[in-house]
Subunit: 438 residues, 3 copies
Amino acid sequence: MYTGQKMYKLAEKLFPICRSLTGNGVRTSLSILKEICHELEIVEVPSGTQVFDWKIPKEWNINDAYIKDPAGNKILDFNNSNLHVMGYSVPIHKKIKKNELLSCIYTEPSQPDVIPYITSYYKERFGFCMSENQRRQIESDYADETEFEIRIDSNLDDGYLTYGEIILPPPPPPPIDNFIIHEEILLSTYICHPSLANNELSGPCLAIFLADWIKNLPRRRYTYRIIFIPETIGSITYLSRNLDVLKRNVKAGFNLTCVGDDRTYSYLESRYANTLADKVIQNVLKFHYPEYKRYSFLKSGSDERRYQAPGVDLPVVGFSRSLYAEYPEYHTSADDLSLISPAGLQGSFEVMTQCIMALENNHKYKVTTTCEPQLGRRGLYPTVSRKGQYDEVFKMVNFLSYADGTNDLIDISNIIKVPVKGLLELTTLLLANKLIEV
Amino acid sequence: MYTGQKMYKLAEKLFPICRSLTGNGVRTSLSILKEICHELEIVEVPSGTQVFDWKIPKEWNINDAYIKDPAGNKILDFNNSNLHVMGYSVPIHKKIKKNELLSCIYTEPSQPDVIPYITSYYKERFGFCMSENQRRQIESDYADETEFEIRIDSNLDDGYLTYGEIILPPPPPPPIDNFIIHEEILLSTYICHPSLANNELSGPCLAIFLADWIKNLPRRRYTYRIIFIPETIGSITYLSRNLDVLKRNVKAGFNLTCVGDDRTYSYLESRYANTLADKVIQNVLKFHYPEYKRYSFLKSGSDERRYQAPGVDLPVVGFSRSLYAEYPEYHTSADDLSLISPAGLQGSFEVMTQCIMALENNHKYKVTTTCEPQLGRRGLYPTVSRKGQYDEVFKMVNFLSYADGTNDLIDISNIIKVPVKGLLELTTLLLANKLIEV
Amino acid sequence: MYTGQKMYKLAEKLFPICRSLTGNGVRTSLSILKEICHELEIVEVPSGTQVFDWKIPKEWNINDAYIKDPAGNKILDFNNSNLHVMGYSVPIHKKIKKNELLSCIYTEPSQPDVIPYITSYYKERFGFCMSENQRRQIESDYADETEFEIRIDSNLDDGYLTYGEIILPPPPPPPIDNFIIHEEILLSTYICHPSLANNELSGPCLAIFLADWIKNLPRRRYTYRIIFIPETIGSITYLSRNLDVLKRNVKAGFNLTCVGDDRTYSYLESRYANTLADKVIQNVLKFHYPEYKRYSFLKSGSDERRYQAPGVDLPVVGFSRSLYAEYPEYHTSADDLSLISPAGLQGSFEVMTQCIMALENNHKYKVTTTCEPQLGRRGLYPTVSRKGQYDEVFKMVNFLSYADGTNDLIDISNIIKVPVKGLLELTTLLLANKLIEV
């Protein structure tokens, strides 16, 4: 079973759980992720804690919810879809008339078949979500005087905000090239969405399998910090507890979201599109999928915006297949397991592992000889000189021309138009021949 | 009556006056402008004064001019159009044969219907200007031996070069943000053209109503220097008398010319297109009229070239509707009051007032919170989170992301693609909520 | 006879000589070049000398070579084409069967009519080169058991690598503008190819006539270093003996190769396309032949790569008509005297002399007046001011605007879009009027 299949299987297991900004759904999900990578630590932060300009809200849990008509038929049942209840709905149990019922129903009229995903985290209210079609059915099927029983069996009490954190330092011994070992790569994804597949089970599934893959790399230069947080308040909470270390250590970061569908690849720029994270992902995607979509930071709507807030300024970009808010199923019940695929997840895995390999090997190489080395006597160049054959050796010759100590490996890849993964073997060969040095 | 109409009415009043580089036409015109803004001071500089590499020429005035045929018919009469006499013609009164007459007639053969506008400021000569059609008529209607009486009743004597100057310092109290109050914005326009409407009565009409508008702004950061000069020698004269203060104080300047027609908007770059004046006008025009024409400084033919001469180096751009020399009526009798309109003048007024508002508010704003502020609890963000609604708040959120202390308001406008005038209310709101500071 | 014709005549004379990396063919060729410019010095470097990472190979000479069939017919004869023997073939004289013969025959199957040019400088072997058609003929005409006599009467012994060098310092007296007289322009070309016309007799023919032209310039600012070397090992040898002086003095360099055909002009960028050599040749070609081809350094396959090797870093670009490896006749017997022409060579001569004139005159000019000078009183500007005439004087006015001491002549040419050769007379005029200074 290849990694994409494993990721998809994990998504299937996590899909039914009702996650929210806080609560037991998050805890359960993190426990399942921990089975893949036991380095995952689960952290709890109490409700009411001040985090910068924000305060951690109460913890929300829900057992059941329904709407019953006078005949006792459940015309809406939380057990059918956890999207049916507005996230963070306060508990309610009463009888109401049709008109009042309609006023607390949320739909997406432009997509009448699907249940929209709707929340109210910071203002206490309640609501039911359903398809516009179902709402119209209720409107036409029942008389105005009909009395409905509505119930939301939820709790909104002081509790905790829960998140997961994996920190993978380089394996001993310390890196031979003496790089400062505290430099970090940040991977961030969010675990606050209920039964939605691309946005957002794909992100945690990718992140946990990346953690597992990174852990098993024989040699690493960077520490990897991989976090599983509720969106917005989670990143703000995490930043409030780790700002100094993150600002000092993080050299590149990636917000992983909507990474499971098959349609395209998307990269969302950092605030000024000028960080190491921008540089590496531009390079990898250019070769992996030249038609990838590049979005300005103006389109940012996820945690990369918090990581890039003025004063925080972490070098973080967004990575997606179809970017959130840009695909029709986004934040509706149509974002289900049929939207993501093993191949879609695998593609994202390949892009991210290529980014990581590029970062790990992104040294500034320098030729050791004055003037061009004689490649022929080392068996690196054909001894018969004839027309046409140069194409084959141009890659090496061009690499050596730009290995002048000013370009890192990604720069050279960009200049000579060869993907980094096509240069890794070459650098090994040239290092072995002592023709270049770091 | 809106401002465009007032400007047009003023142009109608000024149109018949015979202006030139110097002389009473200029004095009369400046007196009429002073009625709109009494801060206008009239300055006289004597003929013969050395101004850098130039010398102020004699003062020119003209009472009458004509060409009479033997029957006593005035076949050319200065009273019909003051374009009929070459500017700065020396006085003449004599009888000449047809051939000699033809040799002192100037026409524009490529536009046979119109009288061209022609001058000879720095070499003493005389000439009559007429349409090519009229010239051909004379050529065919009269026998070679016909004797004509020509007369130009002009004076070319030591006198003065006359210009107008308005200086509007910021109103007391001093600006609260402690900006150096001597920073200046320069507006320059020329008053040396006879009965020509777009080039150039539109410029003085715009400039004087801008002066009136600026004067009435409740709060101002900059001093405004608004000058009404004869072209070329006037700007050189003005520079020779004010170079130090201009170099020290002027932060942005605009040469206003041909600002009354309806056809397009034009911006003429400064020498390197890199000044604050370039920045603000590019920003304003991009949103106001995206199809505006941008001209390289290589096309410069007016005073902006003197302001940008090596060693002068003032940050001055040109602003026009149709740029001089680029529209067919330019420097001909067809550039009359029918070419300009209240709406055309009003458009220029709006662009310039937007430039001024942008300059006045062009601070570097900085968010006061660490990480993203919680907008919801301040009523600045919807409390129900649902798909699609983000568009409405993206403007504020994007503003806050780039309000990092490195971008001024024009930078942010450019980055987030919202015109400055669409950000002024937002900055007021955010300042009131203490979420940003200057 | 114009220069292009003289160059072509020289190429005709040099064409039959069998040149190689070393040997008497090179010596003879250099002697013929010395007849055009007697400043050419011939330098000999012994076999076995270490030159950076390389060692100078043995000297190779050849008297004769053939393949005879059993009937005594010479089916291949070196006297018909010196391309018939692989360059640096070791001596051989023996009888071999058809299969063995075929194994030491080299062809270019994709171009079955031509003899390819093939060498093996650094591994001792031998080989015959012929057209693919001839090879097929042998294959079909002779029985497998046929025995052939093959002979290569060559010598490969310790000897010398031979190159030519011309150094032309500025004529006395020292340049009046006090420029450091040791600044150099480098012209490099190679003399190691046998009977091939465009690549490479055109380069030496151009270089020697440029030397003659430069020598006769009445006034020069730069020292010119013009070298005639075997490709690759020659430039490495030359660098190893002159690296310090070259790094200190060379301000711009040109590798001249394939400069004799008529098809286009090509410029091969330096490593970062940012040297004075790039700047001048881009400027000259833009006006001379706007459709010229610009090649990235990634296409570099000649000595410009060694001059640009990390640590060498000379500001050298490539100049060609059709770039090597980009035209079909390249490195085949079709690259003969019919491929080059007097006109083709003349075009290259004109481009290079324009580059040299631009470099010689590439001062930073500065206007002497404050603000715009009055051109009219110096007879440099029309005294009657009328529509349309400005075009004629715009060149001068624009020149003066950018003669602000920050732009050199090439910069101004680029900005005002007038070729440098169109500005030389103007600068002379303005210098004479003391309106600009260096």
